[in-house]
């Protein structure tokens, strides 16, 4: 069969093919090695898994529904479209799955303090939420530009008791927030757990986050078999760092008949300089401790990303996605700001579900491609989060809240 059978990444060096690894200051190495050991031990620990399952169910509200989007399906006249409703999680996005897992990891390893980076603020909110619930101290790093774009989430984090620190360097977005979080961690590595919010960063983070997010795909598989009696033909997810996508994809890796589609933010278009399409327009490089696909200039300076959605506004991507792209197991397609915004409205009007702008990129792909798919095809879209956080930003683009939404 295919090379994807018996998929066994990461390898013992934390590599996914040529990608991944641990490109961090020596100061962090002992902590990463310890984290790997602790994590592998806890992963095999039944009481840890029981506790994790408890919080996912009773606190986050899992399992999330796999919802047949009947009106969207009708409207597009193509394949049957299902939405995996990660927007219905507590705090409104898939980010809580990972935050619960890593929060428990922090507790079990005796760390009293967590730090996190955030782009759209969803991971910051999830981390602040878990810190409140588990009685941990929490500091969230957020680019100053994103604090402006996602002011509501900043307020939420502070309400939950977290400290929000503006990242003032570079482009003042997710990339820089992550730099600041890593710098802070280097100084506080003895008492602080760094809750990375996506399948990025040095090994073992991409693996840890994947494992905590795979519940998305595991549930989807069970639900689609129950509702349709077979696996989907295509699953689609948006890719910032790639955690909702990896959570959805991973359980299907060896089911090679299932096509895996990641949507990258194409911003103003991948032929402009304003996009975040690291697979389509990047080259292999190192960002935030991992070798991956990266937007950069000829001398290896990281170039700023752009997306309408703060959560996708990132010049890199998780190393396992870079590996999937290289091996061909998943395909990564660009989706523009404009397409995403149109899908944002479309889903709101047809299904009464306001998606996150990030998730709207996945929907937009299906809108664009529906005509090319078969009527009896089954497509699952990961609806990674709800759009409440984006309403104000979209309203501003439409001329302010007072103007109403008429498009």
């Amino acid at each position: 069969m295919s090379m994807q059978n018996n998929y066994a990444f990461p390898d013992p060096n934390g590599r996914y093919g040529q990608f991944g690894g641990r490109y961090v200051p020596e100061t962090l190495m002992s902590a990463l090695l310890q984290l790997e050991q602790d994590y592998l031990r806890l992963r095999a620990d039944a009481s840890f898994q029981t506790e994790l399952a408890y919080y996912l169910k009773q606190y986050a509200g899992r399992p999330t529904p796999l919802y047949f989007a009947e009106r969207l399906t009708e409207y597009l006249g193509g394949p049957k479209i299902y939405l995996k409703r990660e927007d219905l999680n507590h705090t409104g996005a898939h980010k809580i799955n990972n935050a619960i897992g890593q929060g428990l990891l922090a507790l079990r390893t005796g760390k009293r303090r967590i730090i996190a980076e955030t782009g759209a603020g969803q991971h910051g909110v999830a981390s602040a939420t878990i810190a409140a619930r588990f009685g941990l101290e929490c500091t969230v790093f957020m680019g100053e530009e994103d604090m402006r774009r996602q002011a509501l989430n900043v307020f939420r984090m502070r309400m939950l008791g977290a400290e929000v620190v503006p990242a003032m360097s570079g482009t003042r977005t997710l990339k820089d927030a992550t730099n600041e979080a890593i710098r802070h961690w280097v100084s506080h590595v003895d008492d602080t757990h760094y809750v990375i919010g996506s399948v990025v960063g040095p090994h073992p983070y991409p693996q840890i986050v994947r494992d905590f997010q795979r519940v998305i795909g595991d549930e989807t598989k069970e639900q689609i078999l129950e509702q349709e009696g077979r696996l989907p033909d295509t699953v689609v997810a948006c890719v910032g760092g790639g955690s909702n996508a990896m959570g959805m994809f991973f359980p299907f890796v060896e089911d090679t008949q299932v096509q895996l589609i990641g949507t990258e933010a194409a911003g103003h278009g991948i032929h402009t300089e304003h996009h975040a399409a690291s697979i389509n327009k990047g080259r292999p490089g190192v960002l935030h401790g991992a070798k991956t696909m990266l937007l950069q200039d000829e001398y290896g300076q990281v170039t700023p990303a752009h997306s309408i959605s703060a959560g996708l506004d990132y010049p890199g991507i998780g190393p396992e996605h870079a590996h999937f792209a290289q091996s061909g197991r998943a395909v990564y397609v660009p989706v523009t700001d404009e397409e995403a915004l149109a899908a944002f409205y479309l889903l709101s009007k047809l299904e009464g579900i306001i998606p996150a702008l990030e998730s709207a990129h996945a929907i937009a792909y299906v809108v664009r491609e529906a005509q090319r798919m078969q009527k009896d095809d089954i497509v699952v879209i990961c609806l990674s989060g709800r759009g409440d956080k984006d309403v104000e930003q979209v309203a501003q683009m439409e001329g302010g809240l007072a103007n109403g939404a008429n498009s």
């Binding site: 060096n13 690894g21 641990r22 490109y23 961090v24 200051p25 020596e26 100061t27 962090l28 190495m29 002992s30 902590a31 360097s169 570079g170 990339k175 730099n179 890593i182 710098r183 280097v186 100084s187 506080h188 590595v189 003895d190 080259r283 292999p284 490089g285 190192v286 960002l287 935030h288 401790g289 990266l294 950069q296 000829e298 001398y299 290896g300 300076q301 990281v302």
Partner: protein, 264 residues
Amino acid sequence: MERIRDAFAALGSNKALIPFIVAGDPDYDQSFAIARAILASGADMLEIGFPYSDPLADGPVIQAAALRSLNRGCQLPDCFRLVRDLRSETNKPLIAFTYVNPLMQYGATRFFAELAQAGGDGVIVPDVPLEEAPELARVAADQGIAWIPLVAPTSGEERIQAIAQQARGFVYCVSSLGVTGERSSISTQVESLVQAVKRHTSLPACVGFGVSTPDHVREIAGYADGVIVGSAYVRRIGDAASGDGDAVEMVTRFTESLKDACRA
């Protein structure tokens, strides 16, 4: 590589003073003038930071310097040029400090070959730990560039041993947890880190990160073979760039005071 060995040998019982500046900060000509002044006023070697967009081992002072440099258009070829221009005037070791991504993009072999050709002697790559280093260290060695690794207070004996074995030139002992930046005091634990390194190699052990004053230097000179002083220089250069004093004069006076503290 020989230049580094010879420089330490020539010190006698004095300790090596290794200042750090960022190439192209605040612009090419000034960074050249500053580097010359530092070398002329008593530095034993010079560490040259290659500016990078995402310097995650650096604190705000060196981040700002990298930005000043990049905004003036300083790129890798300019960094090599700085090494070449300095080499035409000095026989002291010149050590490149670069993040791994620019090195990888340029191609490791090409990078180290050009560095060697320009007259560089060693390289420090702060985001390449022991596990990721073997291939790069080998390519560097093939081109005659010393691979100078870092050990940290968190490293532990086993890693220190492995890192010491990987090292060429000297071993860089990180004084404290954290990124580069001035500190008010130097942790007393650095001495045991230096001693641990010395149990595993006969190479010199130098201390950097946070070393800011002649008093710090005097203290470290008591147990280490050299000191690296970065942010304290770069802050002065930044101050001068924003109109507060003359950079060449400031780094000259500062170097003289540090050099004095390096004497046995």
